[in-house]
């Protein structure tokens, strides 16, 4: 089976600190993968490298065999860990923006999700609450029919009720051939949807296994094992 995301000896350093330290990783299509790790373990850095927003210090990251860039941006739907949408635009204008640049943007799907979340399309983003803005960003990201979704802390700022909706959204909308990588601290919330987990520790993959195998081998939930491995 071909790999969708490949990291070979991937290193990213800031000054003398290694955010990623020789990471080797392959992710197959059709999986929902949890990228888990404590603060500073390199989760966001990996997401940004995979999207071409940072350049590796050494090694390489490939999306479907291609170095991240203009070509891979058509394959990847990326949700950053911060608000990146222009605040002066209305939700309607943002839909136009996504439809203009991404041929795989599904406007009907987007409208349906916005309606369910009761997000008013005519409102400017800057007039919405922080949580609502995050929901808009997630809805736009998940409204694409991409091959790889990179979601960096998709539920960080939303209420617990909305988290269930977001997980439903992810499950409902993603193509079985697509892969979703979710970087998060909220392991208990996402555990039920994950096929695989990757534990990142100080820039290296400390563990990469399927959730079923992990439960069978350790008899623990992902959340319990995470707390054990990364106990302070």
């Amino acid at each position: 089976m071909s790999t969708l995301l490949t990291c070979k000896g991937l290193v990213k350093s800031y000054d003398k600190v290694h955010a990623l330290d020789g990471l080797d990783l392959t992710i197959q299509p059709g999986r929902i993968v949890g990228l888990l790790g404590p603060n500073g373990s390199g989760k966001s850095t990996l997401m940004k490298l995979a999207n071409g927003l940072l350049t590796p210090t050494a090694g390489e990251v490939l999306i479907d065999g291609i170095v991240p860039g203009q070509e891979t941006h058509s394959l990847v739907s990326y949700l950053p860990d911060r608000p990146s949408l222009p605040q002066w635009m209305t939700i309607d204008q943002l839909q136009d923006f996504f439809a203009d640049f991404f041929p795989d943007f599904d406007r009907a799907r987007c409208r349906e999700m916005l309606d369910k979340l009761e997000l008013p399309s005519h409102r400017k983003l800057k007039d919405l609450s922080k949580g609502s803005r995050e929901k808009v960003q997630l809805v736009l990201t998940m409204s694409r029919q991409a091959r790889l979704y990179l979601l960096d802390e998709p539920m960080g700022g939303v209420d617990p009720a909305a988290r269930d909706f977001i997980l439903e959204t992810i499950l409902k909308n993603y193509d079985p051939e697509a892969t979703v990588v979710i970087a998060t601290h909220l392991i208990a919330d996402v555990e039920k949807v994950l096929d695989e987990v990757i534990f990142l520790d100080r820039g290296k993959a400390a563990l990469h296994t399927s959730v079923d195998d992990l439960r069978a081998e350790t008899g623990k939930s992902v959340d319990a094992l995470f707390r054990e491995v990364f106990q302070c």
């Binding site: 800031y14 000054d15 940004k48 999207n51 071409g52 927003l53 940072l54 350049t55 203009q70 070509e71 941006h73 058509s74 990847v76 990326y78 950053p80 911060r82 608000p83 990146s84 949408l85 222009p86 002066w88 923006f97 203009d100 640049f101 991404f102």
Partner: protein
Amino acid sequence: MLTKLMKYEFKATARVMVPLCILSVALALVTQITLWELVGKAPGRSPSLLKLLLLIATAVAMGAVLAATVVLMIQRFRSNLLGDEGHLMFSLPVSSHQHIWTKLLVAVFWILATLFILFESTVILGYNGTLWTAFPQIQEFLVSHFSSSSDLNFSPGVFLAFLFTAIFVGAGELCLEIYAALALGHSFHKHKTLLSVVFFLVIQVLYHLTGGITPFLADLAFFLFPPTNIHILDLGVSIVSGLLWAAVLYVITHYTLKHRLNLE
């Protein structure tokens, strides 16, 4: 994709620039009408406080248009490409070339529009009923002055074409100086703003050090086109040297965005 990027760039900038431009021209008009009415009807009277305030407001609006043009040029490149919005912009299936050209063309458009608005507002403010009769005199002055040292091939039309091209290239050059400095400064881990300022100063120093190329180009132009008008020659040389310098800055900006992008 370039046209789509430009569409959104125009929308983002026009929401600031258009109201300011309208305000500047409208204030100039209102001030002119009130002052003209006052002076026309009672030449001996001095303008009231309200009318002086209108005059000041017009000057402030004109200053605001100028300031907004510069601030927007910097802010759009910095926050839209190198700030948080860069996470979205550099996730679009477009090239770095297209990002740079979008910012450059829209910024140059607003610089030229600002120059026009300032000229227009000044003309409106200074209008005293004799402006239109002065145009033939202005034309006569231009022809006599600029053809005084010419030998051949001069016409005011050619001169104006060279002049506008030189202004266009100069505006692009200024934008690229700022873009290159910002791109270089933001490729570092820390002190991005400070480093951007430092790089801008370094670019200025290099620009003046390499200014020596201009006399060389002038000599070359004289050699190649000896009978050309001296003013056109000067403008031509400044256009060519400006284009060369802009090309260097463009390469620096593009290389940095493509190979040293650092959206931490």
